[in-house]
């Protein structure tokens, strides 16, 4: 049953996302793209839409995928499911966490999780790059690395990394640039 599947999948995503934001991409990719709920290129579109709309990216993505799979009720199911692990964990452990978060064993655990998450996000950038840069634009004749896409990706990376341009603005500009360069 699709609702149960959505519930379990997004519960799992909520449970294994530590650090929020882009840290949820690798796990979402494993769950959503490999399950063929979305194609790889649709997954990237949704990241962009989630980034450009109000609210947390992971919540927005859950809402979109849920809607896509099973309408409004699917949307509510997926979004509630991504919040459930947080609700359980925080309500049960709030007091404990405030007392123990400075403990060395907790720090040790997270000193290992954070580098692993960094590696996973780097891998996600590769996967997304493979889809976005190798996939021919709408009316291109050939496949292979698309120079225009590669240039936009590099420019976006530099804008965010070195010039601290806001991601929403970066996406908005790339939309205009895309419309222009892919029309010729």
């Amino acid at each position: 049953m699709i609702y149960l599947e959505l519930l379990l999948t997004f519960f799992k995503i909520g449970l294994f996302t530590v650090g929020g934001g882009y840290a949820m991409l690798p796990i979402m990719q494993d769950e959503i793209v490999k399950r063929q709920w979305l194609r790889a290129d649709e997954f990237i579109d949704i990241i962009a839409i989630a980034e450009m709309t109000p609210g947390a990216i992971a919540v927005n993505t859950a809402t979109f995928v849920g809607f896509r799979m099973a309408g409004v009720l699917g949307s509510v199911t997926a979004t509630a499911a991504i919040a459930l692990p947080s609700l359980f964990i925080i309500i049960m452990l709030a007091a404990f966490w405030e007392r123990h978060r400075e403990h060395s064993w907790m720090k040790g655990l997270f000193s290992g999780i954070r580098p692993a998450v960094a590696g996973l996000i780097a891998a996600a950038a590769f996967f997304i790059g493979r889809t976005a840069l190798l996939m021919p634009p709408p009316d291109a004749a050939s496949s292979g690395l698309d120079i225009r896409s590669a240039a936009i990706a590099l420019a976006a990376f530099c804008a965010v990394r070195f010039f601290r341009v806001n991601p929403i603005r970066t996406i908005a500009v790339s939309a205009v640039v895309g419309l222009v360069v892919f029309s010729f």
């Binding site: 990237i44 609210g55 609700l87 964990i89 709030a94 960094a118």
Partner: protein
Amino acid sequence: MDFALLWQLFIAFFRIGLFTFGGGYAMLPFFEKEVVERFGWASRDEMIDIYALAQSVPGVIALNTAIFLGNRKAGPIGAIAAACGMIAPSLIVIITIAVFFLQIQSNLIVLRIFSGIRAAVVGLVAAAAVKIGLSSLRDGFGVMLALAAMGLSLFTDLHAAWVILGGGGLGFGFYVLLPLLRAQGEVNE
């Protein structure tokens, strides 16, 4: 049950969810405005601690923060009210957009626009990887873990959840158990 407080929790986090884009750190100033300045549910220093806490528990950071504050003010029901407030704007906005997007998805102009956007997302995710890498890789062991995680994700079908659990286990072993064993060894000598 204090319905007025529950409504306040819902509305405060609804506003935060509605007016912040992108999640993560972008939301912190809005939390300060609503939670610290408007309602006084936490002090500014406490807010930063709570935010740090929200990042080290599983889940979406903004949601975790809302749930923690809701729970603190009004118990589990408060946590649920806060979470619903945080989620509601996404539901409303994204469903509206999804209806449109599914209709215009195959339009040629839309396809061109999204070809540009997709390429930019590659850059955004790569920048996020670099940023998180720079802040989390403090020693050779961390670099090895990150490379191993990347390799496993790129070249095997291993689920990301196992990579994260494995990283936690190895971190615990390397940063907690190993120093303990070493100290034990020195005592025995």
